[in-house]
């Protein structure tokens, strides 16, 4: 493929700009074009347009108070989608994140019930979730079962296990209690503030995790191998990439992140709800965020930052519709149409990108 340099056209207009001129002198139009042709560019534009629309049509939307609420829609979703992106680039998929999301807080509850304090219990829980990732990875990469089927199996098994262990009873999440003072204001404990219930807690987790993963994907050998395995598995193996290890490792990361999100969301809602219908909707949202963000379902290509923006898009959409007070019967209709519309723009800009050879 021929890579044309989009910067080359800019200095050509004026003789006074030598080839070695700093990039800062690029014309705004070139910058916009470059931004738009980035993999995350198109969905960013759609998301910004959506934010502008809601800000203009609903006075309560562009406020700090709603910003805090908006965070609860997408930050945890971005973490889940980030883990999923690594696997999707591999050409695999992990459906069991829904099951891990459901099971992790219950496991945490049982571990705390066994007398272990809160933070070590979080670490132990996440380690067990990592172990679930190992099982997914081994069954898929070594025993050769398709990852869709493997993780569908672990999804059901974990949902069932959650119902069995909890006796299908809703439980209070340890460490999440909110106390109300005499003047009516409510207070959180330190553990709850850090693990999910604090206003910016999930945002900090999401930004740190997404940054680390984006660097891992674009700047490390692990990321390079992940992309290589997804693009052409046989060629990667022949080039000496340990394909199975890469896949297993990505399953481990995906499950661990799902476990962390499961704990944080249970802390935020103060409850461990064993109802599998919630895990299934969470799972679908995470895959949707990854795909909307620009990761291919077929594998070989993807972006972690895109998953973050994809999650933000879904969050803005859901928050905006809720704050608008859209009638219950219309909500899914608007949601569906908006997602379709966003993806059409995404695909169109993607075509432009391919023509310019950038991205």
């Amino acid at each position: 493929m021929i890579h044309s340099d989009p910067d080359a056209a800019a200095p050509a207009r004026g003789e006074e700009q030598p080839r070695s001129a700093p990039r800062a002198v690029l014309s705004p139009w070139t910058l916009i074009k470059r931004f738009l042709t980035m993999r995350e560019g198109s969905i960013s534009v759609v998301t910004i347009a959506l934010i502008v629309y809601f800000s203009l049509s609903i006075p309560a939307f562009f406020t700090s108070s709603n910003f805090q609420t908006l965070l609860t829609y997408f930050t945890w979703l971005a973490i889940l989608a980030g883990g999923e992106v690594f696997l999707m680039i591999n050409g695999e998929i992990d459906l069991s994140i829904g099951g891990v999301y459901l099971f992790a807080p219950l496991l945490f509850y049982e571990i705390v019930g066994g007398g272990i304090s809160l933070v070590p219990a979080v670490i132990l829980t996440i380690l067990v979730c990592t172990g679930i990732g190992v099982v997914n990875g081994v069954v898929t990469a070594i025993l050769g079962v398709n990852s869709f089927i493997t993780t569908l199996g672990t999804l059901f098994a974990l949902e069932g296990l959650t119902l069995i262990v909890s006796h299908a009873e809703q439980l209070n999440m340890p460490g999440s209690a909110v106390s109300t003072s005499a003047n009516g204001s409510s207070h959180l404990g330190t553990f709850a503030s850090i693990f999910g219930a604090g206003v910016y807690s999930e945002l900090v987790w999401a930004v740190v995790i997404i940054a680390i993963m984006q660097i891992a994907l674009t700047r490390t050998r692990w990321g390079l191998h992940t992309i290589a395995v997804g693009s052409n598995r046989i060629a990667a193996a022949e080039a000496g990439v340990k394909v199975r290890l890469v896949v297993i490792r990505n399953f481990m990361v995906c499950s661990s992140l799902a476990g962390l999100v499961g704990i944080m969301e249970a802390v935020r809602s103060q409850s461990i709800s064993p109802d599998p219908s919630s895990s299934n909707s969470v799972l679908l949202d995470a895959i949707a965020a990854a795909v909307i963000g620009g990761t291919l379902l077929a594998g070989g290509s993807g972006t972690i930052v895109g998953a973050f923006i994809g999650a933000l898009f879904l969050g803005v959409l859901q928050d905006g519709l809720a704050i608008k007070g859209v009638n219950a019967d219309y909500l899914d209709f608007y949601l569906g149409i908006a997602i379709l519309f966003a993806m059409l723009i995404n695909v169109y800009v993607g075509r432009v990108r391919r023509r310019t050879g950038v991205g």
Binding site: V178, S278, V282, A322, D329, L331
Partner: protein, 367 residues
């Protein structure tokens, strides 16, 4: 009014309702069964329930009822894994232990009617001794019910009902009527102004009739309402209700028709200190957090529909139907509409039991 007059009036009223529907062999059979049942069955059920527990334990069911047969009952359900039905399953287990029966809990996890019909037909093919099912579809269960009755298998509905179905009786809350009662309560709490009604998943047969009932009362009144969907997952329900509040801070009341949204309404009221602003809140069912927040005054009411009875009573009725050789056992039972408030919710907080799905152990323990 004597007891007999009361029963006769009930029979007349039910038959008046039936007259609106075309008579079928099933409906005639049902009318006869109902006459027998309401005449004697209701008394038998009540007498049995009131019998001292020690006596029931001391004598085996065979010495009391003259039958030692181990009946097998199938409970088809529309949301088999929903925690709401945990006490219902406990109720079935307890009745089965008492009477020496066995049961199967089956159906769909996602209100999939086709799956429920399959489970229903499987139960008929497996010669179950009785079938209980929430009738969440107006027509889909008519044919299996007729088939089961023709085969001599009694069919009851629980939790959700459809009167045109040939089932022998309904045990549960009338969802639409409960919604109407909630609407009345909302009107008395917020006589004028705007209120929000939240529903987790619109169109779900076990919650949609409640919102329809509430709407039928509020429509045209000075209490203006909007209906908003909140989603299936609890954290998502919480986010949606918080967002809604941001955009509607002039609202005077937040109400919900499902357990998850009700908890989220109370949590939002607590988070934004809305009681200080005079905002009213209420809803359905009892999650542990709902109970705690209601007791702390972060809401006005929640409605308990006694899910335990929705498992215990159908099992009891199906057993009596066989034990009495069809002479007794079948009766419609309204498991009620218990409005709980700050004071009356307290015993729920201080105890754990099978009756409220907060424990799987026998009896009531202090928590």
């Amino acid at each position: 009014m004597s007891d007999n007059e009361f029963v006769n009036e009930a029979i007349e009223r039910l038959e008046w309702n039936d007259a609106k529907v075309e008579a079928t062999p099933q409906s005639k059979a049902r009318a006869v069964t109902r006459r027998v049942a309401l005449g004697g069955g209701a008394g038998a059920v009540a007498a049995f329930m009131l019998a001292p527990a020690a006596q029931a334990l001391a004598a085996s069911s065979s010495s009391v009822f003259g039958t030692g047969k181990k009946y097998h009952f199938v409970f088809v359900n529309h949301v088999t894994t929903n925690p709401f039905f945990t006490p219902t399953i406990s109720g079935i287990q307890d009745a089965c232990n008492l009477l020496g029966c066995s049961y199967q809990w089956t159906g769909s996890e996602t209100s999939n009617v086709a799956q429920m019909v399959t489970a229903f037909n499987t139960a008929i093919a497996g010669n179950a001794d009785g079938i209980a099912i929430p009738l969440i579809d107006p027509k889909a269960f008519n044919a299996p019910t007729a088939k089961a009755l023709a085969k001599g298998i009694p069919v009851l509905s629980y939790n959700a009902d459809e009167p045109t179905n040939g089932r022998l009786a309904y045990i549960g809350q009338d969802l639409f009527v409960s919604g109407q009662d909630m609407g009345q309560r909302i009107k008395s709490l917020v006589p004028s102004g705007n209120v929000a009604l939240f529903i987790a998943t619109p169109g779900s047969a076990n919650i949609q009739p409640r919102i329809n009932g509430a709407e039928s009362v509020l429509k045209g009144s000075a209490t203006k309402y909007t209906v908003t969907a909140t989603g299936a997952a609890l954290p998502q329900e919480l986010s949606t209700i918080e967002s809604f509040w941001q955009g509607h801070t002039s609202y005077k009341g937040l109400f919900a028709v499902d357990g998850g949204s009700t908890q989220a309404v109370f949590q939002t009221i607590q988070k934004y200190n809305l009681r200080g602003k005079g905002v009213k809140g209420g809803g359905y069912d009892l999650t542990p957090i709902t109970q705690q927040l209601l007791a702390a005054g972060e809401g006005d009411f929640t409605i308990d529909q006694q899910p335990y009875l929705q498992g215990f009573l159908p099992t009891l009725e199906l057993f009596l139907y066989h034990a009495s050789d069809r002479l007794s056992g079948i009766a419609d039972v309204d498991t009620g509409l218990k409005f709980l408030d700050k004071t009356t919710v307290k015993p729920y907080n201080s105890t754990k039991s099978r009756y409220e799905g907060t424990s799987s152990k026998v009896g009531v323990t202090n928590s």
